[in-house]
């Protein structure tokens, strides 16, 4: 050191040692806490999150409802469980955008240079996602109830449907975590995400019964995972779901998790 000034205003810190290594779960919960703090500091993110589904619900119900199902209230009975599926899949896009912008800022470089469970930051993102899904879905359900939707299976059915919804959100979430890791511009993640999701969501049984669609399209709609999810959601909320329907609905989330969780770890840790 060539020129140390006066030592009076030098900051000399006492060495602080490392506490015992925390568990992977503890690491993940800390990131979950971070996600929860974001709701307090950036409440406007909830706006993005709930406005689109509210708009969709109201527009579809009142513009198309009468023509499709006789009356808006009757259409709501068909449409509401499906719009919940659409809501969580669209929400996952915002989560991928958030990750993409976090990565651009160097924050994850700090996380990566810490001696923590490598997947913890993503587990934390998922905790945030689950909270977001629950908030958005509750708002949509409330609007539905006001507009005349009645879940035949009552509260237990709704709770079961919400549990399935979280499984769906968890599975689809990995797609956008991978996109967030691969694409460094958040708006590109969004464009890419919606380009992929719009056909998938519209060519499903969320909005209409596929009976009137051309054969080739029906063939796709019938195996579209989004359709399978909507069918199971409808069934759970109306107390008519079969185990087979529920099983079919969770195939895609399970496969996505099995394939994309290791992919995420690999993409994140590659150096």
């Amino acid at each position: 050191m060539s020129e140390i000034g006066g030592t009076d205003n030098l900051l000399v810190l006492n060495a602080v040692g490392r506490p015992p290594q925390p568990s992977a779960l503890s690491n993940a919960l800390v990131f979950g806490w971070r996600a929860a703090l974001k709701f307090r500091h950036v409440p406007e993110q909830l706006f993005d999150l709930v406005m689109t589904p509210i708009m969709f619900t109201l527009l579809f119900t009142f513009v198309f409802g009468g023509a499709l199902a006789g009356s808006p209230a009757e259409y709501m009975q068909f449409f509401l469980p499906g719009i919940l599926v659409q809501t969580v899949t669209f929400n996952a896009v915002y989560s991928g955008m958030g990750l993409s912008s976090d990565l651009g800022k160097g924050l994850f470089d700090r996380f990566r240079s810490l001696p923590i469970w490598p997947l913890a930051p993503f587990a934390g993102l998922m905790v945030g996602d689950v909270l977001r899904h629950l908030i958005a879905a509750s708002i949509i359900l409330t609007i539905g109830l006001i507009l005349g939707y009645r879940p035949g299976a009552g509260l237990p059915g709704v709770l079961a449907a919400f549990a399935l919804l979280i499984v769906i959100g968890f599975g689809v979430g990995w797609v956008f975590i991978v996109l967030g890791l691969l694409i460094r511009t958040p708006t590109t993640v969004m464009t890419f995400g919606f380009t992929f999701l719009f056909p998938l969501v519209f060519a499903s049984n969320i909005m209409v019964d596929p009976a009137t669609m051309p054969g080739w399209l029906r063939a796709f709609v019938d195996v579209n995972p989004i359709s399978l999810m909507s069918t199971a959601m409808r069934g759970l909320m109306a107390e008519s779901a079969t185990l087979g329907e529920i099983g079919a609905a969770v195939i895609a989330p399970a496969v996505l998790t099995l394939v994309l969780a290791p992919t995420t770890l690999w993409l994140y840790m590659r150096r």
């Binding site: 240079s113 810490l114 150096r271």
Partner: protein, 335 residues
């Protein structure tokens, strides 16, 4: 001038270096961003890696901080092998990147509590550690403010505080004062000096010669992925030449002519100062300098100022990176 041989008196005595790297290489496609760098950083030292943008400083640091995998060579950090035991390395280091590695949406205190919890401090202990660091870095008043509302200097201080939740063996600082105003820069310098006194080994990258000169006990100069010199700032200056003659011309348009004359007289290629009209050249002795000035006057080139002095680190740097050589080639063509 690139054949300057670094003298390494300190390294010979280092038995347990904080960082020891041999032949580190990192390639991006066809580009060898880091091209075989050896580095020995003794424990407790402030060590600067000096180089222009794109020289490979950040890549070198990212490799040492386990963020990038070397394509060749080996290194130990605090005795742990970089490639075999990256997790052990991570538990002994902290890195403050070039871009603030903070969560802008959270408050300063929340950022530190987050990191303290990740390190394993629980509930109250995490908060206590966060408050302690905020106080030490003069950020207590801003503890509850979101980081996005911090000034550049505050952000940098918080960023460095975030690296000290657990006292690291080695602290990596990537361009710690880039973008700061002079006052904030001085504050960060004071902080870095204090940390070194606390026993933390600090490896910092910088493109500011003054910063390396002010802070670092040793400096490695890097250009195009290679280490081209290493030593104390005094050694680097001495190696370039003891006496430097600086002249300022009254008529800058005659600088080509003056450069040619000076080069001829003194046997070294003069460097041009960026602000036009100024030339600096190695002069063996005051007598030689005197004769060179006389030669300029004989040729009718009027000087507005001249001085003898040791080279600034800027001049050392340009001499080492060969910028002056490139200029000289152009001059040669014209003369």
């Amino acid at each position: 001038m690139n054949q300057f041989v670094p003298t390494n008196p300190v390294n010979a005595r280092v038995e347990n270096p904080a960082i020891s790297a041999r032949g580190l290489v990192k390639t991006f496609g066809a580009v060898r961003a880091v091209d075989g760098i050896d580095l020995d950083v003794p424990a407790g030292m402030i060590f600067a890696i000096l180089g222009p943008n794109g020289a490979g400083k950040t890549t070198l640091m990212r490799m040492l901080a386990t963020l990038a995998r070397p394509d060749g060579g080996s290194a130990t950090v605090m005795g742990h092998d970089l490639i075999e035991a990256p997790a052990d390395v991570r538990s002994e280091i902290a890195m403050t990147g070039q871009f603030a590695s903070l969560d802008e949406d959270l408050t300063g205190q929340e950022n530190l509590v987050l990191l303290a919890r990740l390190w394993g401090f629980r509930g109250r202990a995490a908060k206590a550690r966060a408050l302690e660091l905020l106080a030490a870095f003069d950020l207590s008043d801003a503890a509850a403010k979101q980081v996005k509302d911090y000034s550049g200097g505050m952000r940098r201080r918080l960023d460095i505080a975030a690296s000290l939740v657990v006292t690291p063996g080695v602290l990596f600082l990537d361009e710690p004062t880039t973008g700061l105003d002079p006052k904030a820069r001085k504050e960060v310098w004071q902080m870095i000096r204090g940390l070194a006194l606390s026993g933390v080994t600090i490896l910092l990258t910088t493109q500011y010669l003054e910063e390396a000169d002010q802070l670092a006990a040793r400096i490695a100069v890097i250009d195009h992925g290679k280490k081209i010199a290493e030593g104390t700032s005094r050694e680097l200056k001495a190696a370039t030449g003891s006496g430097f003659l600086h002249v300022a011309l009254e008529d800058p348009s005659r600088s080509d002519e003056a450069a040619h004359l000076l080069g001829e007289r003194l046997g070294h290629v003069p460097q041009r100062n960026v602000e036009g009209g100024g030339l600096s050249v190695v002069a063996g002795s005051p007598q030689d300098a005197n004769e060179a000035i006389a030669a300029l006057m004989d040729a009718g080139i009027a000087l507005s100022d001249f001085s003898m002095g040791s080279p600034s680190l800027d001049e050392v740097f340009f001499a080492l990176t060969g910028e002056a050589d490139r200029d000289a080639t152009n001059d040669g063509g014209k003369a």
